[in-house]
Amino acid sequence: MIKLSHIKKIYETPSGPLQALKDVSLTIEDGDIYGIIGLSGAGKSTLVRCINMLERPTSGTVEIDGHDLTKMNNRQLREIRKNIGMIFQQFNLLSSATVYENVAFPLKLSGTDNKIIEKKVTSLLQLVGLQPKAGQYPSQLSGGQKQRVGIARALASNPAILLCDEATSALDPQTTQSILKLIRRINEQLHLTVVIITHEMQVIKDICNKVAVIDHGVIAETGSVIKVFTEPQEAITREFISVLLSDELPSAFRNQPISPTPIEAGYLLLRLTFIGENADEPVIMRLIKEHPGIDVSILFGDLDQIQMIPYGRMIIGIKGPQAAVTAASKWLEQQDLKAEVIGYVKRHNDAVD
């Protein structure tokens, strides 16, 4: 378990002290794939470096399995760092060493016997799928392959924790997917605790089970990924999610005034969210069946998976006699889903679609 308590980090800069982290507390359980998301400059890279003490917090404690790293001397820190692998955005491989030598590097540092090194490196290269590249230099590899070498190197000393500092930010989407798959596989096979720093909500959604949103040096929000996605509490979280989950109204309704009270010839717009089992329920069909007086139009729909849990979102418009519309809206709110009233909106007359 990684426990960060009241971490503060202040940098002395020529223009005065800069507070990168302001009282950050986080608990990361064993086996978690814990995402920390924030904009650049939010303090996330500083935060992840506090976990292995590449950055010493100005105050606060960093506990790993009950040991406080902030009280350790350099020798003790070097020992514990062997238990914390780290991968980087820029891979940080030795350009003068081959793939094999790069992966063997941490073992060489700890004076491991060459025979054992060879066995370990071979199995690691197999794990990351780079056996044929053992004799090549990093400059001969693609970005994804370089990150695989980085992962193999980070795993060489059998760490219990893997820190990923924007590990996929320099990669294209397909390569990002394959690296994330690899990280998940490692998490499952080797029971590794993974901490992922990113600015991309997609990464969080694809692989993390828990997330912390960091903003201007403070944790804005934490929780399970599904909960943060479905019930974001903070504006910054909604902003991150909106990149992935666009729920713009169709152009016929866009830029129209939204009224909380019924308006003539207006549609009552509702945002429906289905999570888990109820994503399969035929709610819309029952809505139409049980409320024969109304017209239902589906204005937006999207079905996705977060953490293997189906997650559907829909915006519908209901039109008809006011009593029937109100009844339908009430009915929806009683169903096993999240129904949120957006308001009454009129359709554009000059709508193109």
């Binding site: 070097r78 062997k82 940080n92 491989l93 030795l94 350009s95 060493a97 590097f105 990093p138």
Partner: protein, 217 residues
Amino acid sequence: MSSDIMMLLIKSLGQTLYMVIISMLIASALGIPLGILLVTTAKEQILQCTTFNRILAGIINAVRSIPFIILMVAIIPFTRLVVGTSIGTTAAMVPLTIAAIPFIARQVENSIKEVPYGLIEAALSLGATPAQIIRHVLLPEALSSIISQLTTVIIGLIGASAMAGTIGGGGIGDLAIRYGYQRFRPDIMLITVIILIILVQLVQFIGNYIAFRLNKK
């Protein structure tokens, strides 16, 4: 050309090579570690010690600011202390070495500074000691660049060795002055210049080749 002159040329070339090679070896043995210290003791580096860093940088700048011909004469007592004499080829090696040390230190500093800090960070995250980082990260990563820089230093030393004649050091440059200039022998002047050009070209070529072979970037 008479065989006497031929012998003189070979002897002078030998003196030049002797001075340059020996002083280069000794200066490298001292200058490379100083160059490493210049980088690693700076602020926010693995052996941070800013006071030491400032003093070291100050001494290096001071030595580098003395013109070689003055340095040679100024340190005569020191030279006598070290090699027992203040004249001759061996005596000339002392100021050559002293002049080369800070030069090498600065050049090595520049090479090592080019190693991205991310690599040091990666090594730290793997539990490397500062000594291991120097040995396994900084030196191998900067080696190609260090070789290029040392090539420049060698060529500088060949140039400076021409002044060794002032204290009876001999060498090709001295030959050019004494025969080519003072005895009005343009043929000897020409041949010494040609030898120097070939020597410098050769050093540069070998340096470039080694640096190229070592560069895996």
